[in-house]
Each structure stands twice: as structure tokens, then as C-alpha cells.
């Protein structure tokens, strides 16, 4: 019993801590929006292209929360990073024969956050956006993004 009590306290303290961070920067509620899983991004996979799920299409422009792993960023000062379903064992930015998986999300942070241990899962919340986009600074192309995003470890 004691254990449960302690755990719930810890959890509450953590939640409130998490809540304050984004409120300071974004003035919008923490962990807002619907949860979106990596398994829910595409309706179909095919050699001739992938098709976004109805859920992605419905949530376009809405706040969502996605859990995943941060891939090692292109450069430390990059204003975006790639969110992957499983930790990346290869670094496509660093290794010429490595390539990104099909189902990645590109995350544009609303303000700088310290990059985290790539081995640990994170939860990212931001505004979902789909469709082709080329990052003007780096030329990095993406199909699915979270804008004005913030993240925390889970």
C-alpha cells in the first residue's frame, strides 16, 4: 500500500512538473491533443507509395501526442529532430549507407530543448501536419511533422 501511495505522489509531482514546462513556453495546455501511435500513421504500405491513415488526415492541424524515440539530430543546433518508432541503430545523417525507416515523424520544436538520451522513449506534443515539406535550411524532406512541439521523457 505504501508503495502505491508513494508512486502516485511521484507521478503527480512529475505530471505537474511536466505541465509547467510547456505552459511557460507555449501558453497552451500540456500533453494536449489526441494520442497518435506509430502504428496508426498509415492506412497502407505499398511499393508505389504509402497512404496516410484516416486518423492522420482527421488530426491534420490538431494537437496530438506521439510517443517514440529521438534519432540523433543532424547537428546540435538543428531546429528539428526525427522521431522514430524504435531507437535508431544507424545514424542516416552520419552514415552514407544507412537510410531512414518509412515511418518517421519530423519534429519542429517551438523553442530549444536539450536533446535527450536517444535510447529512452519520449513523448512529443505538437500540431500534426502531413504532406511533402523540404526543410529550407537543411534540405531534409519529410511527409509528416509535428510543429510548435515540445517533448518530455517518459
Amino acid at each position: 500500500m505504501t508503495d502505491t501511495h508513494r508512486m502516485s505522489l511521484t507521478r503527480r509531482r512529475m505530471l505537474s512538473a511536466l505541465a509547467t514546462l510547456p505552459v511557460l513556453s507555449l501558453a497552451r495546455p500540456a500533453l494536449a491533443g489526441e494520442k497518435l501511435g506509430f502504428g496508426e500513421l498509415y492506412k497502407s504500405f505499398g511499393v508505389l507509395g504509402l497512404e496516410f491513415s484516416d486518423k492522420v488526415k482527421r488530426l491534420n492541424g490538431e494537437d496530438v501526442t506521439v510517443k517514440g524515440f529521438m534519432a540523433p539530430p543532424l547537428k546540435a543546433e538543428a531546429n528539428f529532430f526525427v522521431l522514430t518508432e524504435i531507437p535508431m541503430s544507424l545514424c542516416p545523417f552520419c552514415s552514407s549507407d544507412a537510410d531512414w525507416p518509412d515511418n518517421i515523424l519530423v519534429v519542429y520544436l517551438s523553442e530549444k530543448q536539450t536533446f535527450v538520451q536517444y535510447n529512452a522513449p519520449i513523448e512529443v506534443h505538437g500540431v500534426l501536419e502531413y504532406g511533402a515539406w523540404t526543410d529550407p535550411e537543411t534540405g531534409f524532406r519529410s511527409q509528416l511533422r509535428l510543429r510548435e512541439a515540445a517533448f518530455n521523457t517518459v
Binding site: F45, L48, L90, A132
Partner: protein
């Protein structure tokens, strides 16, 4: 004596004072007579054009080469750094075989190189060549595949692999132009052009400028076949079709990562059969799943060029029998799933691409198609994931890939039995640092997995079974299995067990960009931490520098003997097809 020493010393000092220009093709290059290539001289300093002197066998180069080279006053590097002057003559051909000594000088710089321009026999020895590469194929892969597939009793194999009856004829040195170590780009390129190059380079010598598409080119085998014959060309791989090994047949780039450009180079050469994964680089940028940065729709471009398209196993079988001239088979957006996942465990991305053909299906379909050409064909078949699973130290997947490769070798041998004018070559492109050292036996006492490793007499024999006789073990997670170890790698956890949930991911990057052991395997019972022994920015096991075994059977195979440089293999292929004879 003292005078001699003094003379030696001054000569050395002189040599030290003079800067050395670089000449491409490099010294000791072997060049197929009549094949186009780019001649380039790089000076370390900025020199005046009138100071540049180039002779070929003592004559002015223009007289011998028939054309004047372009002089570049200042080549630029990163951030416009001046690299020196250069001389470039593209698409040069030399019509007469022989030794060519190229002497170059300008200012204090001088360089002399010799090329061996060779011709071939006049009459082809074979009509067809099937060149089979298991990427990364090391001796341990063969031994492991044999034990896993056929079993062993009292020290004797219970059966033979298809490749066991193709004579091993040569040891191949795989080193690259700038390093003893090597990768699949320069190794496949050496096989397919006859020129060694630098890591990551395909169909070019690696020059000093940052542009990856301006490096001095050499001719690829597919280009040579188009230039000199009416033979068909086939490329089959389980990787992306624009991956290094398949790309080596058609590509010219300093960077194997130029995959979007490589698709265009494929279309330029138009292989009659092109099977594999990698459709993401065929799709225009706005199609979800595309990895292109432009709007080019290469699916449409290949169709316009007369290709039929197959996108799964069913379509491949149907298309192989059809009469279309050319066939493009794309079965995955990325690398195709490995046999263990595709046929048995249904892991990896098999749920997304459930109807992928295997290497055996693709090899059969390619031979069906190509053998319709009465002029013959050159087919390259690559089992790419022997390498792709050896990098992450996933030995079970690498061995099952080797078994599948062997089944494709069986298909090739069957074809050659019916068509004896076919040369078969079976080889790898480079090796991995891997060995089988014994078994892991779950029945051994205790909980420590390390204590269950059997070595020497205690290894015994594994208990894989193949009750359905398909050549694959019914399961890889038997109680007494092969213990295979890499001699290098990143920090990781050794679990002593097959990875049934998907390919092994030994290490992941941390915030300091160092690869650290993947914690996901830490709590596997009995797992032990293995300290890495290569730099921390390396993500997986690396290629070995060890020689590759090359096996060959059929007409032309007598050309392979003893130790050979990887680039010398090309000369045997060229001889087999008589690609370098005086025309008309």
C-alpha cells in the same frame, strides 16, 4: 660508400621537395582496350598551363590520345579552398593494347604512372555469365549454412550445399585504393569495372573535389556489354536496387548514397531485368514514402522506356512468362525482408509487404527472361542481407540468408547444366570478422549462459532439424545451436539466443553520439555485456580485410587462379565474353 649514401640522401631530399601530382587512372591500372574512361591529373599547386607537360610513352599526350585535355586553373574544395590546378580529358579511349607510361610534370611536381591496356581473346568462351555475390560472404557463413541446413554426424556433413560443388579457384584481395579496408561500393565496382577505387565510390576514381558526380569515370560491365554486344543484362538483389552492389553495374559516383541519381543511371543503361527493393527512390517527392527530393516519377519513366512492372511475388511469376522485353521488379520501398522474417517469423516489415519474392524466385524469373535472348546475358545476383545481418551481429539471420543464397546457386547450376555455355561465379565482395567457435547448449547446468557455450569436445553437434526437407532448419531456436562470434563490434549485450522478435539492434547512439549497448537486451536471462573494440562512433560490426574465396565453374573459369586483385576478376569476365577485341 660514403658517396653513395650522400647520393641517396640527396635523391631522397629532392624527391621530398618535389610535390607529387596525382594521375587517374592510378599507377598499375588495367584498362580494357577500347573502353571509355576519364583521364585526370591533379596538381598540388596552381600551375601555368604552359608549364604542364604530359607524355605518353615519351610522345606528347595529344598525339597519342588524339585530343587536348581541359585545363582547370584552380580546383575548389570546401569553402572555396583552392586545391590546385587540374587537367581533365573525359571519355578517352585507347584503341591499341599495350603498356602505357604516362609522365606528367608542372613546376616542381612530377608523376609517372603505367597502365596496362589489355585486349581479350577474339572468340567468346561462354554465352552467358551468372555472377553470384553473397555480400559479406565469409567462410563462417558457408560452414554455418551447411551445418544448419544439412546437419553433421560424427564430424562429417550430412549433405552438401549447392556451392560446395563449385570449385574454389581464387583468393580475392578486396582492399581499396586508399585503405586496406573496404566497402561494398568499391569492391563491387572493382568486380564490375576492373578498377579498384575508394570506399563509397562506384565506377569512378575518387578525386579531390567535393562534387560526387564529377570524379574520373571508368566503364562498367553493363556499359561494356551495351557497347560491344547485344547481350541482355540482369540485376537481382534483395537490397534496394540502388544499393552499392547492384549500382556497381551501371553507376558513376563518388558517393554510394547518391541513390536518387543512381536510379537515373539505371535508366540510362536499362538493364533488361532489374529486381529488388528500393522503390522509395523511384517515387516523386510528394508521394508518401518517397525518398526523392525532386518530382521525377521513375516508375513512369521506366514504363515509358518499355518496362513491365511487377510489385509482388504473384506479379513477378506472371511477368516472367510474359513477352515484355524488359522487366522492373520492385518489391519493397527499402531493403527487402530477410528470409527468416519473410518465410518463418513474419517479423521485420513483412506485415507491410507480405508478398515479397525471395532470391530464388527472383533468380528463376531473371533466368527465364534473360535466356530468351539468343545472344546470351550477364546476370548479377546479390544476396545482400548476408552482409546486412552480419553488421548487426545477427548471425542466425545471416546464415539463413546464406542458405537462401545457396538455393539460388542451385538454380544457377541447374541452368548451367542445361546451358553448358554458361560461366558461373560464386563469391562475396568482402568478408566479415566472424567465426563459429562451438555451440550453445541450453541443457548444460546453471543459469549463466556463458557457461552453456561448448568449445572443443564439449561443443558436440547442434540439434537443428529439417523435417519438412525445405533446406531451412525448422526452427533456429533449438536447444543446442551454433555459437558464432564476431571479432569486433560496438558495446552490446550477447544474449546467446536467436533474435525471434526482429533483427538484432546491438547498439544505439547516446547524446554524445557514441554507440552504446542497446538496453533492450540487457534483461534477457543470461545476457552478458560485451565491451566494444572499435571506435565508439561505429554502430555495428565492420567488414574484415581478409581475402574472399571465389568459386567458378564453366567456360572461362580457368581464368581464375591463385591470388587475384578484385579488379582482375573483371579481366576474366571480359575475356570470357571477348569484350576487348579489335573491332571490324
Amino acid at each position: 660508400m660514403r658517396q653513395l649514401l650522400l647520393a641517396l640522401a640527396s635523391a631522397t631530399m629532392l624527391a621530398g621537395a618535389a610535390q607529387a601530382a596525382t594521375v587517374y587512372p592510378l599507377d598499375r591500372a588495367t584498362i580494357l582496350v577500347g573502353s571509355p574512361f576519364d583521364f585526370k591529373v591533379e596538381f598540388d599547386a596552381v600551375v601555368k598551363p604552359e608549364d604542364v607537360k604530359v607524355t605518353v610513352n615519351g610522345q606528347d599526350y595529344e598525339a597519342v590520345f588524339g585530343r587536348k585535355a581541359e585545363f582547370v586553373a584552380e580546383e575548389k574544395g570546401e569553402e572555396d579552398k583552392v586545391l590546385g590546378s587540374a587537367l581533365i580529358l573525359r571519355d578517352l579511349t585507347i584503341a591499341a593494347a599495350g603498356e602505357y607510361k604516362i609522365e606528367v610534370s608542372a613546376g616542381s611536381e612530377a608523376k609517372s604512372v603505367a597502365w596496362d591496356v589489355y585486349e581479350t581473346i577474339a572468340q567468346p568462351k561462354a554465352k552467358n555469365i551468372i555472377f553470384m555475390i553473397a555480400d559479406g560472404l565469409s567462410v563462417a557463413h558457408r560452414t554455418g549454412a551447411r551445418i544448419m541446413s544439412k546437419g553433421m554426424t560424427e564430424g562429417k556433413a550430412n549433405g552438401r550445399l549447392a556451392m560446395d560443388d563449385i570449385p574454389p579457384v581464387a583468393f580475392i584481395g578486396t582492399s581499396s585504393t586508399h585503405s586496406i579496408a573496404t566497402d561494398s561500393a568499391n569492391t563491387a565496382s572493382a568486380y564490375m569495372t576492373g578498377h579498384k577505387s575508394r570506399v563509397n565510390a562506384l565506377g569512378v576514381y575518387a578525386d579531390r573535389t567535393p562534387d560526387s558526380l564529377d570524379d574520373p569515370k571508368v566503364e562498367t560491365i553493363a556499359e561494356a556489354l551495351r557497347r560491344t554486344t547485344k547481350k541482355s543484362v540482369g540485376i537481382v538483389t534483395t537490397a534496394e536496387v540502388e544499393d552499392a552492389t547492384p549500382a556497381a553495374l551501371v553507376s558513376h559516383t563518388r558517393k554510394r548514397a547518391d541513390k536518387a541519381e543512381i536510379v537515373g543511371m539505371m535508366l540510362d543503361v536499362k538493364p533488361d531485368v532489374l529486381f529488388g527493393g528500393g522503390s522509395a527512390y523511384f517515387l516523386g517527392k510528394d508521394v508518401p514514402g518517397s525518398k526523392r527530393k525532386d518530382d521525377k516519377d521513375y516508375i513512369a519513366e521506366f514504363k515509358n522506356a518499355g518496362y513491365a512492372l511487377a510489385i509482388d511475388k504473384t506479379e513477378l511469376a506472371a511477368a516472367a512468362g510474359a513477352n515484355d522485353e524488359k522487366l522492373l521488379g520492385l518489391f519493397h520501398t527499402g531493403n527487402m525482408d530477410v528470409t527468416l522474417d519473410r518465410e518463418f517469423l513474419k517479423k521485420g516489415t513483412v506485415d507491410k509487404f507480405p508478398n515479397q519474392p525471395g532470391l530464388v524466385d527472383m533468380t528463376k524469373a531473371a533466368l527465364d527472361k534473360l535466356s530468351k535472348n539468343p545472344e546470351g546475358f550477364f546476370l548479377m545476383v546479390e544476396a545482400a542481407s548476408v552482409d546486412k545481418m552480419s553488421h548487426p551481429l545477427d548471425w542466425d539471420r545471416a546464415l539463413v540468408e546464406t542458405i537462401e543464397f545457396d538455393k539460388a546457386v542451385a538454380v544457377a547450376r541447374e541452368f548451367a547444366d542445361k546451358n553448358p555455355d554458361t560461366l558461373i561465379v560464386v563469391t562475396g565482395d568482402h568478408t566479415h570478422g566472424v567465426s563459429i567457435i562451438g555451440t550453445v547448449d541450453d541443457e548444460k547446468p546453471g543459469t549463466e549462459m556463458r557457461e552453456k557455450v561448448g568449445t572443443y569436445d564439449n561443443a558436440g553437434f547442434p540439434n537443428y532439424e529439417d523435417k519438412d526437407g525445405d533446406g531451412y532448419p525448422d526452427r533456429v531456436d533449438v536447444s543446442r545451436r551454433l555459437f558464432i562470434a564476431a571479432n569486433n563490434g560496438p558495446d552490446h549485450y550477447e544474449t546467446f539466443r536467436p533474435k525471434l522478435d526482429g533483427p538484432f539492434v546491438p547498439a544505439v547512439q547516446n547524446e554524445a553520439k557514441e554507440y552504446i549497448a542497446n538496453e533492450a537486451y540487457k534483461d534477457v536471462p543470461g545476457a552478458v555485456f560485451v565491451q566494444g573494440n572499435i571506435p565508439k562512433d561505429e554502430d555495428s560490426g565492420v567488414h574484415a580485410v581478409d581475402d574472399i574465396v571465389l568459386q567458378a565453374a564453366g567456360p572461362g573459369s580457368e581464368g581464375f587462379r591463385g591470388y587475384m586483385e578484385q579488379s582482375d576478376v573483371y579481366r576474366v569476365l571480359a575475356d570470357t565474353f571477348a569484350l576487348g577485341t579489335a573491332k571490324d
